[in-house]
């Protein structure tokens, strides 16, 4: 069974180059008065990307900066809509896209975990049932009730990872963040990911860490300039990637 199917997906970003934030009210009004639209620059971030991930499988995403890795992950997470093609996910998506995304520095780990779990789509009773396991996995101890601004990067990752994996996802999407954990926690993450995969959770992970990809992924998708350069078993793709490199 497929946990994720991506079919012929293309994504183009448009932005107004002259102003930050995509344009001001004034320029929009002026352009409208002059009867023309503000000039837009188009960037094709992904072009005709297709692949699927089976339940329990781990697919790595490899590529240079700007190759489209993060765009692909956000499309799969449902934040972006494809211009063409289709993204189909069976079930809930666990997201680890940015470290501490949406966490409030003045609120405690407990409060932030509750908010993050509900944003991810969990119900309040479900969250309450999972709270102890989130606390236990995150190893935060007394910091659980301390404000988040007192946390180290590693602690933020532990909390985010604990929430993202506790919500019973059918697909876990991870963007680059695992590298900030220490060796001990990384080992624990791998263990938890292995356990989730044994239960049928699929994994989509973007990383520059070739060793990490080697250790966790069966297959790797290599993106170059928004297109699929290679999609094959990990050793094959990594060998080709190393050969092409400087």
């Amino acid at each position: 069974m497929n946990a994720l199917v991506v079919e012929g997906v293309s994504k183009t970003f448009r932005y107004c180059p002259q102003l930050p934030g995509g344009g001001s009210l004034k320029s929009a009004v002026l352009a409208w008065l002059r009867g023309r639209r503000t000039p837009r620059v188009e960037v094709a971030a992904l072009r005709d990307v297709s692949f699927s991930v089976e339940a329990g499988e781990a697919l790595g995403v490899l590529g240079a900066n700007g190759a489209g890795k993060s765009t692909l992950l956000r499309l799969v997470a449902g934040a972006y809509r494809p211009d063409a093609g289709e993204v189909r996910v069976a079930g809930r998506v666990g997201r680890l896209l940015e470290l501490g995304a949406g966490f409030h520095p003045d609120l405690s780990g407990a409060e932030n975990a509750e908010i993050a779990a509900l944003v991810a789509g969990l119900s309040l009773p479900d969250y309450r049932a999972l709270r102890d396991s989130i606390l236990a996995f995150s190893e935060l101890g007394d910091f659980w009730t301390a404000p988040l601004r007192t946390y180290s990067n590693g602690m933020l990752l532990r909390l985010g990872f604990a929430v993202a994996t506790a919500i019973r996802p059918s697909l876990l999407v991870v963007d680059e963040v695992l590298a900030v954990g220490d060796a001990g926690f990384q080992a624990k993450c791998r263990e938890r990911i292995a356990a989730l995969r044994a239960e049928g959770v699929a994994l989509l992970v973007a990383s520059h860490g070739l060793h990490e990809l080697e250790a966790t992924c069966e297959r790797v998708l290599w993106l170059e300039g928004g297109r699929v350069r290679a999609l094959d078993r990990t050793p094959v793709v990594l060998a080709a990637y190393r050969e092409s490199g400087p």
Partner: protein, 259 residues
């Protein structure tokens, strides 16, 4: 229809709305010594300043002026806070929206709820204070729920419209901050509507907030039913919710990349 989708969004994510509202209320004063007291102390201090200027130094000539001022200032504060914070609400919740599991209609709802809760918490104190200032509570207070419902709808609708538009037109945040003080002096909060010269009466006539604030003044000060003009903010509120629902529906697909 867009409004139906909006209401379904809210109904299906009611628990999320609640925790985000609590986050908004709790986080603002976390770590301060006065805590929630700040949300009482700030308007109270503003009240003292205006009462001093317009009740003592320059006399507007209203009996029991501090009570009159309080009746209009508190609902105005709710409106101003909700509109200013509503405009930046979607930008402020960007990290959540970029995860792709939340509708853009949620943050304006959060701000509308948080500011309304703030208003409700101050309400008993306002009634007590107005009593202390010489206007005992009466049956006119029964009109408050109507006024609060109209204002809630208006605040929510404006937050939706401005919140979505501000993602593309960032100038709106500054523009709203700049225009709110103008709207404040054009609304009869510091002075009674009757004191405005006839040649400027049209200003109040086209200001949808004027009848609303007048309604509050009548309700708090025992002067009976709100003016019929409150139907204008009601209609505006409904209109804003409809337009806001449409805007947020239309922006849903692209909002994460514009944040």
């Amino acid at each position: 229809m867009a409004v139906g989708r909006l209401l379904r969004d809210y109904a299906s994510r009611w628990a999320l709305l609640r925790v985000l509202t609590r986050r908004e209320l709790v986080a603002r004063y976390r770590g301060t010594a006065l805590g929630f007291g700040w949300s009482l102390f700030q308007p109270a201090f503003t009240l003292v300043v205006y009462a001093l200027v317009f009740g003592v130094f320059v006399q507007v000539g209203v009996e029991r002026y501090p009570a009159f001022l309080c009746a209009g200032l508190v609902p105005w504060t709710w409106f101003a806070q909700s509109t200013a914070m509503g405009t930046t609400s979607i930008l402020g919740h960007a990290p959540f929206l970029k995860q792709g599991s939340m509708s853009p209609a949620i943050p304006p709802g959060v701000i509308a709820l948080a500011t309304a809760v703030n208003f409700f918490l101050t309400l008993p104190l306002v009634v007590g204070l107005i009593w202390l200032l010489g206007e005992p509570p009466g049956v006119s207070l029964a009109f408050l729920p109507v006024l609060i419902a109209i204002q809630g709808l208006l605040c929510w609708g404006l937050a939706l419209c401005l919140g979505v538009l501000c993602v593309r037109y960032r100038d709106l945040a500054q523009l709203v901050q700049t225009l709110l003080p103008l709207a404040f002096v054009l609304t009869p909060v510091l002075y009674p509507a009757e004191r405005v010269p006839a040649s400027f009466a049209w200003v109040l006539a086209i200001n949808p907030l004027a009848p609303l604030v007048e309604g509050y003044q009548r309700a708090f000060l025992g002067r009976g039913a709100p003016p019929l003009g409150v139907l204008i903010p009601l209609a505006l509120g409904v209109g804003c919710v409809v337009v806001g629902a449409w805007l947020s529906e239309r922006s849903r697909d692209r909002i994460a990349e514009e944040l």
